[in-house]
Structures are given as C-alpha cells and as structure tokens.
Amino acid sequence: MLWIYLHLPFLLLEHYGQSLPEPRPMATLQPGSQRILQANPDALALGVRAGQSLATATTLAPALLLINPMAGDHQRALEQQARRIYQLGDFISLYPPDGLLLQSDNLLRLYGGLQNLWQKLQQTLASQGITATLATGTTPGMARLLARAGLGACTDDTAALARQLADLPVMQADFPQQVTERLVRMGLRKLADLQALPGKELAQRLGPATLHGLQKLQGSRPDPQPRWHPPARFQHAMDLPQEAEQSAMLLFPLQRGYQLLEEELRWRQQAVEQIQLRLYFREHPTECLSLRTTTPEFRADTFMTLTRLRLERYALPAPAIRLAIRVNHFLPRDTATQATDLFQNTPPQQQAWQQLIARLQARLGENALHQLQLVADHRPEKAWQTTPPAAPAPTQPLSAPDLPRPLWLLPEPQTLTATPAAWLAGPERIQAGWWDGTQIQRDYYIARMTSGQVGWIFRDTQGDWYLHGWFA
C-alpha cells in the first residue's frame, strides 16, 4: 500500500493570513505564556523562533502580528483543507493539528500515476496559499514522519523508502518525549539503531508501545487508519417543470424539499437553525434567501410556515427556473428545551413563545424585533439597552441601587421651557462615563411642572436645565 502524507506546517497562520492584504510576520503564542508557539516564514526570516520569549521576538520583529487562536480554529482550518483533498481522493485521515493522510492505491490509475496525483495535491494546496510538504510511505507512519522531516519524495520505491526511514533521527520519530530522551541518551540516534536491537530487549526497556510504534512504521504491525468523511450538509435542488412567475408557485416544490430535509433530520436526530433558499433565473443573477428559526428545528411544517411568511414579502425579480434548499450546519436537537419540566408543562409554552418570535421576525424582518434589558450604568441613557429577542440574560452585576427613575425616559433630554411649580426631591448628582467619551455631570431633581405632571429634570455643568423623563 502507498500512503501520501501532507504536512501543513503553517496551516493556522496561513489560514489567518488569507484575510491579510499582504504577507507580514505572524506568530501564535503558547497558551497561557509569553512564549512563541509558531512563527510564519516572514517571522522566521527575522529570527523569530518557537519557544522564544515574546520580548525577544518583538525586538527581532517589531511589526510581529500575534494571533490568538480560538478553540476549534485548528480543527476548522484542517477540515477546510481536508474537504479540498477529499475531492481528489476519498480515503483520507486527519492528523490534527496540521496533517492529512491520503490512501493513494486506488487513485493512481485514476490520475494516471503517482506523479500526476502528487502534482495535483501540490497545486490544490498551493492555490489556497497553504505551504505543504508531502511524502509517500509504505505505511501511514512512514509517510507522516518523512513528510514532517521534510524528506518526502514522489516515489513508490519501497526499498528506498525503507532506507530513508532507517536513516531518520529518532528525535523526529515522534516517540513520547521521555522515550526520545532515553534513546538519545543511549546513543541510539537513528531508527536504524533501534531496528538493530532485539525487539524483546527494546520493549523491556522502553515499553511495548515503543516496539509497536516501530513495527507500525516498518509495516510489520497493522496500523488501521480512521477514515474521515466531510461533515454532513443538506442540499436539494429542484428544476422547476414550469417557470414560476409568482413566489407562491414555489411553495409546492418546497414542500417536497422540506419533507426530504425533515426525513434527513429525523434520521440524523439533528436539527437546523438556518436554511438557505437559492433561486435561479434565466437572465437574472441567483438570489439567495435565508430563513432562520429561533431554536433548532426539524419539522417541515415549521419550515413551511416560515417560508410562507418570508415569501409574502418577496417579489420575484424574474421567473424562477430552479430552486435549491441548502443547509450548511446541522445542530444537535436541543433536548433541553424539548424535555424539561415534568410538572410545569412549560415546554409547549416556551415553544409557542419561540414560534411567535420566529413568525414576527419572519414577517417584520430580523432587525425589527427587540427586547429590553437593564444595564449596570449610572448614566440614565446607558442604564438600559435593546437586545435581540431571547438573548441570554446579562452577566453583569445588576444590584441596581433602589433609585427613583421615571418610567418614561425621553429619547433625548429636552431643554426645559418652564420653571417647575414645585421641587419634590433632589439633587441627585450623577457624574460618570469618562471612559467612553460620553461623560455626564448632572444634578437631577424631581419636580412638579405647572401642568401637574411630575418630571425628572436636571441641570448640567453649564447651568442649563433639561427635562429627561416623566413619572407616571
């Protein structure tokens, strides 16, 4: 068997670098320390090295851009490349954080030889701006080590590959740190040195795992590889038998599509939150409509209801000829909302509430619906905010002091035109907000106006008077 390993040494940095207008020195930091984890070629050229202190690195490369990877970034970057490689060959395995393994036996004929496949792989990665070192091997481990050591070649010469493996320094053989340390300290520097030792003695001293590892490299022990498949995605396209001139004419074919989607979701025990509808036209560019549910959803009926509401507000720019439903992300079904509260019977209520929100949003548009929230801030105009519906509760401390505040706060303070009839309370001095450039310093009073209404008024530092709200 012949394996090809693709080592992507700068994967994460290049993944981020794609969004930069031009290359510049970049590095990632070791989590929780001020040391460099990895540097890209631009930074390497300036002398930045892994393990270096941030201070040294910054001195060497003052323009160094530091990347703070988020959890899952590595996996996403790797999967992105895996998807592309998957289009070339379907037996691939992921080696996080920065490697891909490809079983090439079935592909050689398809691509007309190793040479062509090799080139194809290189081109695919290069077109993405991803640096890769490739290697072949008769075992997965061999291909991997040779690729990581930068010793790979486009060859299927079994004997030559075995020689290269034997010549590999144990430092590069990916044994556990302690094993490597021991090997080196016994003068065993190449894999050949290990291969020359009696297996039993080796296993006794360095553990059976070391021997097994060596055997897997050599191919004298099986080394099954987990096969990777791209994460699921739903796409269903329908060529319309009859050009649709009104959006209502799309509903029927969509019904069928949603049923397929529901089937798929039931089978997977999953749900979706967002659906894309693509509409194709003869001469007009493709239109994309996006539907969003408030919680993960899987029923065709719900999708249909949302779609109906959405299409009511949508006018077709031209007769549609083709229609596609597409879902990019499947979500776990939110079992929590479906099955809580044995006694209070809230799930249906909760469900109804969410469905209402979803419908309102579908009809009015996503941005038309808000929810009010208190904010811990002394400034009255900053003491509340709007959030999207069903947003999580604020995490800030909200031990709001028990303060007299008007129920009706004016959107903007208005200049006070008349002298109040009676002063009821005050002053309450509020001075805050220097940190965001909207500092206020005001003395607030509660006063009865000549109209009889009770108002919240203040005087600012200039001595000007304003009305800021009405007490009910």
Binding site: L29, Q34, G47, R49, Q52, S53, L54, A55, T56, T58, T59, L60, P62, L64, L66, N68, P169, V170, M171, R182, V184, R185, M186, G187, L188, R189, L197, P198, E201, Q204, R205, L206, V375, A376, D377, H378, Q396, P397, L398, S399, A400, P401, D402, L403, P404, A425, G426, P427, E428, R429, I430, Q431, A432, W434, W435, D436, G437, Q441, D443, Y444
Partner: protein, 1030 residues
C-alpha cells in the same frame, strides 16, 4: 466655622483610596480644616507619611482606622491618646492575623470583647431600624460617650431620606451626630483613577464595573462652604468636639529599647563601656592609640547622650550569637564602621584604616536612630532570625514591611486591564518597550504603536498611568529589617501575616520607621560570607594556614599583584566585567585602594565623570590641586575627586556651609533624585554658600553638577570599607589556596557573577586538579581530595541537575566500604528510583561501575520493575556483573561534552570550542589567549560561547558580549548601530562568530564588533541529534 474630617482613607487602603496621604493633608491644609483623621481600612500604614506632612502645620492629625465588620455595620475607631493608639493597633493585629495576607476579619463582638477604652467610635448605621436600634443600644452601653453617629452626603438620590433617618435614630438613641465626607480622594479630578482602582478590585474593566463604581465624585475633601450647605451646623460643630478629644500624636511613639541585655548592677551605658573596653584590649593589644581613644570617647558620649546603648548592645548580642555558632558575619553602614563597633566585633574595619564621616554615624540634629546592616552567611541567616525570635519573642520582634509601589510596567498593565485594552497587545508593547529610553519616549511609543484608538483614549491612558505611578500596591516583607521593641510590638504598630508561613510583618516600611524614630536591625544574607567561611574551614587541613578572618595576613603583595592583572573571577565585588577591566587600570595595592575600587565602578561616579580624572591623577598624568585646605581634607584621599557619597555630603558642609542635618537632607534628596526627588531647592543654597566662601562660580556649578551626577547611585564609603575587607580576604584565598577557595565558592552556589562552569574553568586555569562526579567518590558537596598536594577538587552530586540532596545523602550513607560494584546494588542499597539512576548515568557518574553513559543507561533500563527488597545483604557477591548481550556504541567526545553540559552544566573534557577548532570549523579565529598577543587596531576574528550579554544603563546603547572559548573569555563591544543591524545573531546566537577590530585599554583587549555570525548550528555537529545546546 471650622471642620474636622474624621473619615478619610489614603491609597494605603489598597485599590480603594485614590490619593497619597500627602495629597490629602495638603488639601486639608488648603481648605482650612482644623483636623484630618487618616482612617485607612484596618491599617495605620498611611499614618507616618501623613504625620510627616502635617508635623509643622495647623491641621491636626487624628489616627484612626475603618473596619467593615463581617456581621455588622462599618465603624471607624479613632485613637484618643497613646493608650487608644495601642488598643487600635492590637485590634488591627487581631483582625489581620485571623486572615490571609492582605485581608482581615473583624466581628461586632470584637468591639465589645477587645479593650477599646481609649478609642472613639464613629458608627455608620445600616438603615434597618430594628437592627440599628439594637446595635446602637449595645454600642452606647460599651462606648457611652465615646460613640457618634456618622452622617454622609454623597448627593445620591436617597440623601434626604438617609438624613431624616439618621436624625430620627439620633433622637431615639440620644446619640450625637457628626458630619463626614467618607473621603477617598483629595479632589474630584481623581474620580477616573478611583474608578480604575474599583475595576481592578473587582477584576473587571471600568465599562463592566457598572454599579460597583460610584455614581459621582463626591467623596473628596469638600470646601467647608459646601459642607455647610449639606449638613446641619451642629453636626459640623460636633466634628470639632471629636477632634478635640483626640490628643494622640505619633511623635509620642518614643521608642523603648529592649532592656534585658544589661546585666544586674550595670546601667546600659556602663555595660556598653565595659564591653567596649574589653574589645579595646583585644583589638589593640599594644595599647589603644590616642586618636582612637578620643574617637571612642566621642562616640560613646554621643551614644549615651542620645540613649542608643541598647541598640549597640542588641547588635552585639546578635553578632555574638553568630560567632558562637560559627556563622560568619560583618556589619556595614556608617554606624557599623565606628570604633565602638570595631571593639564590639560588629565589624572588622579598622578605624585606623578608614576615615569615616562621624556625622553619618549618628546625628544629633537628625534625631534618627543609627542604621547598621549586618551581613550573615546566606545559608545560615535563618538561624540568626530564629535566634532573634527566640530571644525577644514573636510579640516583640517583627520584620519591617516593604511597600510595593506601582512601577511603569505594572501601572501600564493595570490601567490597560481596567480600560479593557487588548491585554496581548499591552504585553507585546511592554516587552517591546525600551525602558532606558526617557520617559517621554516610551509614552510616545505607547501612542505610536496603536495600543489606543484615539487621542482622547491615549491622553486618558497616559494620565491614569502617571497618576497611578508610585501608588502603593501591597505590602511585602522587607529583606531583613527587624524591629525589636521593649513592650509588645502590637502596641506600637499593627502586625499582619506575610506570604511566607510563620512570618509576620509590621505595617510600616523602612522609611516610616526612620521618621518615627524606631530602631531597625538589618539582618541580611551574603553568599560570599558562606563561601569564605567554608574555605577557611577547609584550610584546617593545611598546617599553618589561617582559620579565621582575623588570621588572614594583611596587605599581601602577591594578592594585590594578582588583582592588578585583572585575575579576579570569583573574588567578591570585583569580579564583574567592568570591575575586571578597572583592576589593571586602578592597580590596587592597598586596602584603601580596594575601598575605592569597590565604589568607583558604579553609575554615580561614572555618570558624574569622576573615573577618568581619578585614574589620570592616580597615574600622575594630571596634577592634583585643591582650591584650599578645607577641600584637601575632604578629597585628599581620593586625588581630589569625589568618589563616595560621604564626600559629597562633606563637600556641601565644607564648601557651602551646610549643617550636618542639612547635608543629610541633601543625601536623602540625592537618593530620591532619580525617582521623584528634587535637588533644585538645594542648588541655590549650595551655590550661594560656595560663592560666599570665595569659590569661583564655575567651580561651584561644576560641583553641583557632580553632585547631581551622583544621583541615587553614589556608593557610601562606609559600605565600601566593609566590602573591601571581603574583597581582600577572598582574593587572598584565591591567590594562595585556590583549591579551597573554589571549593568554598562552588559549595555556596548559587551566588556571585559566574556559573559553576566558568568557576571550574577558572580553577583549572589556576592549576587546580578537578575530578569528575563519581558514584563511589563524590559527596553531595564538592570536597577536597588530599591524596595529592595541593589537594584536588572532587566534584559533588550537587552539580547534577535533577538529583536531590536526600538521594545523594542515601548514596553516601549506604556506600559499602569497597564502593558500589553494580547498578542493581546501588539501586537496592540507596533506594534509588529508576529516574534517579538514569540521572546519574546521564551525568556519567556511573562510569566506574557500569561503563560509558549509554551502556549504563541501557543497563539501568533493563532492571526488573520489582520493588527493591527491604533487606539486602551487603555483599557484592549477590550482584554478579553479568555480561550484557547488547553492546551500545560508546559516545563520541562531542556527545560526551554535550551530555556533560546537559546533565551538570559543565564539562571537564575538552571545551566545545577546542573540538570545533579541531574539526577545522574556526579557521582564522583567534583564541582568547592569542588575542592578548595580537596587535592593537588590527582586524581579528573570534568565536565563542555567549556567556553574557549586557546593556549597562551607563553606556549609552552599547552591548557588551562575553564569549568563552577553551582558553578564556573574550570581551566584545557592540555599538548600537551594529546591534540594530544585526539584531538576530546578537540576540539569539549561543555560539557567536565576531569579526572586528582589536582594541586595548591598558592590558584589557576588546573586540569592537563589525560582523556577527551565528554559529550555533555547529554545536549540533558535535553530535548528530538536533538537541538544543544549553
């Protein structure tokens, strides 16, 4: 109408108070307050500074403290008198000792169970009627007329209700009410900083802090007119009643010295005289010289006059203890190097040899206790500390605190945190900042590097950082400043827990102690004393050699000859590169030359441009002249150039007519000059004083500039004198008994300037035979092998990284008479783990029983995993040496060298550079030795391991690189421009190749770097793997 503020915290209430005590006091003065109470939270740490500021003002200082009871309201306790102060200190001690460092715990019941009979209580009710009535009744019962209700007005929405409530409560309880500002800052403009501190306290950003922040900026020292608008006037008047009842002043804290050291039938003064007399006979067996007699008399009468006998008796007692225990120690500082201290054995500095400034010994005018530092062997200082605790009791002896303040780095970090700046970016900036640049420059850097988004934010950031700079951040433990009191310490100053278990510190730092006149003894640790004591111990094996400091022959020409060559690696104080370079230029030939040598290589003399004039005059290249005899008396010993701090002070007295006390103020101002001090007030007085005494204007100006140059970095002669003694002794040991010297030095590591590797190389260059670590020959410590003469240095297990002293102990104790024969036997007898055995194998310590290090490790890894039997017959027959079936290849020389470095940081084999040279890698490179013969001014190439990179603050932009090769050290000078262009090799190379020009200063050769090349990859060629060379 006047007013007394009775509730005010300073920034010694960490992360709450937003003003320095001095800012609050001067604001209170400006506003015409009649009194100001400093009431930091469970602390009196802010008192000394406030007191210093208010000492001579009309504003009365009231000492108090604020407490948030765990189960009740917030209360303020004020000290009515000295008793009240003691009670307050004890309460704070109680609350602090209950909690971890930095925290406290106090409960309502404590107010009733602790003695607080002389404290006044201000009570801020909780606004829960039933609860408050109950609490009030209890408080009245205990404090009767010493209890007040405290009213505050923050201009909050509920102010009027709160006021009404308080009125009602006061009527019900029949309690008087006082007005209070609950002050946390001296002026309104501190609100942003206050908010930053609040955010930091709550571990969030200012924007996130929400209602943790105060709604306005009213907690400042308000003008009396404003207060009159806010409070009923009886409440304001009542503050004066309270202030009137507080009569305690910190100046009453007249310190009482411990008295138990004086035996019955003596007064302290008589006893000190008796001890001095005894010492005199020992020190001057041929009779005390007349001038020393006079000096002793002068010193003793001054000591008596100021009542400092117990201080000297205390030191004598501590030093005597150390001597009994064989712990080497030596005092330093102005008071230490006095004739009395010489007679009391506190110092070895002979008053005949050094002329010390009597005014700094003790000054009448300053009214401050003498200051003596005593250095002890660093490994045995703890014994001395324990002795002090034991002798005086933990309630009477405590360590002084050190106030840790915000420095630029911490201030930038914390303000950044509070403003929610990207912390990674802040760190990146901080690590990129060059702190030697002027302050304005790094401020500029902050702006240009885009940390902040806009001008407003930038201004805000910098303003806040500047305000926060110098703020106390927390209390830490002083390195060794002990305070010992006659009565319980906690009646003098509160005691709190330190981070270190079983350590307690008082709430005041060194400066506070000084200003309050408390005695402090500095118990410091000095590695060189350990090394010297050990070396002297080893000399007991050598007939005729000295065994004590006193027995070391004085003024030995061979020792000075060695130092004049710059051969001083390992010698105390003069072993740094700068010192080594200075030695051949200064050519010390007497003890006093060493005193100068110690003091001259310091930023003060260097920046004051005193080094070159001194050297030129010493070499006779420039005439020495004095404007008059008065100056000759001050500067005569240093060729007319001021070198020591004392000379600067005496100059001010002699040339400008300063009194001793004024001169001492100048010294303090100079010490503080670099940070925040200001010399300008002294400038006029200095210059006009000198002009009045007939000096030329430009001479006066030059002298003033020189004094400025001294800044905080002038080195006192009194310390240099003590250090010079140790310089001499260590140099003498190195010169005559190098094996013993290096052995003592290596056994006292870590200390000093050089690594064990550098010391061992230097030892071998001085013909000391060094033997490698061996399982059957080594102890934990290095030792001397006397089978040859002079003795050889047998390296010990302490050198091996990763081997504990305990394991080494087991190896030595279980060693059979014939030595270990086999690794299994070693494992069983010494109960060593597999990992420890591997460590030994890596260090090649098993070579004598298991072959080379590769084979030894293979051997060990082959051991069965059975636990060793509990009882093992100690006859080696049980461990037959079995022939190993597998024979591993022996390590190459290069591998051995690298493994030696890896396992013990040094090698006794060939130097890596010798190996590389042998392999032909370093053609055209001169060795350190060859460099000595090479022609000055010619281009050379050198290579070596980088053992040092320094950018001293005194040399603008120059980097000094030290390279080590098989023959010695090479000095490389890299100018700023070269450094900038070749940053990468300069900063990262472990093995560096330098092409440059050879230059000489006297005998010392430097290579002025041109091209730098990183040859670190060659280290890899010494072996095959790519292991990092450490």
């Amino acid at each position: 109408m006047s007013y007394a503020e009775l509730h005010c915290i300073t920034n010694f209430t960490f992360l709450r108070g937003a003003s320095h005590p001095e800012e609050l006091t001067s604001q209170a003065q400006a506003l015409g307050y009649s009194a100001l109470a400093i009431t930091d939270e469970c602390s009196v740490a802010g008192i000394p500074r406030a007191w210093r500021a208010l000492k001579h003002s009309a504003v009365k200082l009231i000492v108090g403290s604020e407490f948030q009871l765990r189960d009740g309201p917030k209360v303020i306790l004020l000290a009515e008198n000295r008793h009240g102060y003691a009670q307050l200190c004890q309460l704070i001690t109680l609350a602090r000792r209950r909690a971890d460092k930095g925290h406290y715990q106090l409960f309502t019941d404590d107010l009733f169970t602790q003695t607080l009979t002389h404290c006044l209580l201000l009570w801020q009710p909780d606004h829960d009627w039933t609860q408050d009535l109950a609490t009030g009744a209890r408080l009245i019962q205990h404090f009767s007329t010493r209890c007040w209700l405290k009213a505050t007005r923050y201009l909050a929405a509920n102010d009027s209700q709160r006021l009404a409530y308080l009125q009602q409560l006061a009527t019900s309880l029949q309690l008087p009410v006082i007005a209070s500002g609950d002050v946390q800052m001296h002026c309104r403009q501190r609100q942003p900083l206050q908010d930053v501190l609040t955010a930091l306290r709550h571990h969030c950003t200012v924007a996130e802090a929400g209602f943790h922040l105060q709604g306005n900026a009213e907690r400042y020292l308000r003008p009396i007119k404003t207060l009159q608008r806010l409070f009923p006037s009886p409440w304001l008047a009542q503050t004066l009643v309270v202030a009137g009842r507080c009569s305690f002043c910190p100046s009453e804290l007249r310190y009482e010295y411990p008295g138990e050291l004086v035996p019955q039938g003596f007064t302290a003064s008589q006893y000190l005289r008796a001890l001095t007399r005894q010492g005199e006979q020992r020190r001057f067996p041929g009779g005390t010289p007349v001038d020393i007699q006079a000096l002793l008399e002068k010193e003793l009468s001054l000591i008596t006059e100021l009542g400092y006998e117990p201080y000297f008796l205390t030191l004598h007692d501590i030093v005597s203890f150390a001597r009994q225990q064989g712990i080497l120690c030596q005092g330093r500082g102005s008071a230490a190097n006095s004739a009395v201290c010489y007679c009391l054995d506190i110092t070895e500095v002979d008053p005949r040899q050094v002329d010390l400034l009597f005014e700094r010994f003790i000054s009448r005018e300053r009214d401050e206790p003498p200051d003596i530092d005593v250095d002890f062997e660093h490994e045995r200082r703890e014994e001395v500390i324990q002795y002090i605790y034991q002798r005086y009791g933990r309630h009477r002896a405590a360590l002084a605190a050190t106030v840790i303040r915000y420095r630029p780095r911490s201030a930038i970090r914390d303000v950044g945190k509070a403003l929610g700046l990207d912390l990674g970016l802040v760190e990146q900036l901080l690590s990129g900042l060059d702190w030697r640049d002027r302050q304005d420059d790094w401020r500029q850097q902050l702006l240009t590097k885009g940390l902040v988004r806009n001008e407003r934010q930038a201004r805000q950031f910098m303003t806040l950082v500047n305000m926060l700079l110098g703020f106390p951040r927390h209390m830490s433990q002083h390195v060794g400043g002990f305070v010992i009191s006659a009565g319980p310490m906690s009646e003098l100053v509160p005691i709190e827990n330190a981070t270190m278990a079983d350590r307690t510190v008082i709430q005041w730092d060194k400066d506070d102690l000084e200003s309050l006149g408390l005695m402090k003894v500095d118990i410091l640790a000095l590695g060189m004393l350990s090394a010297i004591r050990k070396s002297l111990d080893y000399l007991r094996q050598r007939p005729g050699a000295p065994h004590t400091l006193q027995e070391v022959p004085a003024e030995d020409p061979a020792t000075y000859a060695m130092l004049q060559q710059g051969d001083s690696i390992g010698v105390f104080q003069v072993e740094s590169r700068a010192q080594i370079n200075m030695l051949p230029r200064l050519k010390p030939a007497t003890y006093y030359d060493l005193v100068i040598q110690v003091a001259i290589v310091r930023p003060g003399p260097i920046q004051g441009d005193m080094v070159h004039p001194y050297l030129r005059r010493r070499a006779g290249l420039e005439p020495v002249s004095y404007p008059n005899d008065a100056l000759r008396s001050v500067l005569g010993r240093t060729q007319g150039v001021p070198i020591f701090q004392e000379q600067a002070i005496r100059l001010a007295m002699v040339a400008a007519g300063f009194s001793a006390g004024e001169a001492d103020q100048l010294r303090r101002a100079m010490a503080a000059w670099k940070s925040h001090g200001d010399l300008t007030p002294f400038r006029d007085k200095l210059i006009s004083g000198m002009l009045a005494r007939g000096y030329e204007p430009d001479f006066a100006e030059r002298l003033y500039q020189q004094l400025c140059g001294f800044g905080g970095y002038g080195f006192p002669e009194s310390h240099a004198a003590s250090f010079a003694l140790l310089v001499y002794v260590s140099a003498w040991l190195k010169c005559h008994y190098p094996a013993e010297f290096y052995c003592g030095l290596l056994n006292s590591q870590p200390m000093g300037f050089y690594s064990p590797s550098q010391l061992v190389q230097d030892a071998r260059r001085h013909q000391v035979a060094v033997r490698p670590v061996d399982i059957n020959l080594s102890d934990w410590d290095h030792r001397l092998a006397h089978d040859v003469s002079p003795p050889a240095l047998q390296l010990g297990f302490r050198l091996i990284k990763g081997l504990s002293a305990n394991s080494a102990q087991r190896i030595v104790e279980s060693r059979p008479p014939a030595g270990y024969q086999q690794t299994r036997q070693l494992r069983d007898l010494a109960q060593l783990s597999r990992q420890e055995l591997e460590t030994l194998a890596s260090a090649n310590a098993l070579a004598s029983i298991a072959g080379h290090r590769h084979q030894a490790r293979w051997d060990i890894l082959g051991h069965d995993h059975q636990p060793a039997p509990l009882f093992v017959a100690d006859h080696s027959g049980a461990y037959r040496v079995t022939e190993n079936a597998v024979q591993l290849p022996p390590p190459t020389e290069g591998e051995n060298v690298l493994d030696d470095y890896h396992s013990q940081g040094l090698t006794l084999r060939r130097h890596p550079l010798a190996l590389l040279r042998g392999q032909g890698h370093l053609r055209h490179c001169l060795t350190a030795t060859a460099l000595q013969q090479a022609e000055t001014g010619r281009p050379v190439a050198v290579a070596g391991l980088v053992t040092g990179r320094q950018r001293p603050g005194t040399a603008s932009g120059v980097t000094f690189v030290t390279l080590e090769d098989e023959t010695g050290n090479i000095n490389v000078v890299v100018w700023l421009k070269t450094a900038r262009q070749q940053r990468k090799p300069l900063l990262t190379a472990k093995l560096l190749h330098v092409k440059g020009i050879l230059e000489r200063e006297g005998q010392i050769a430097h290579v002025i770097a041109g091209r730098l090349t990183d040859l670190s990859h060659l280290m890899r060629q010494l072996q095959i793997s790519s292991r990092d060379f450490q």
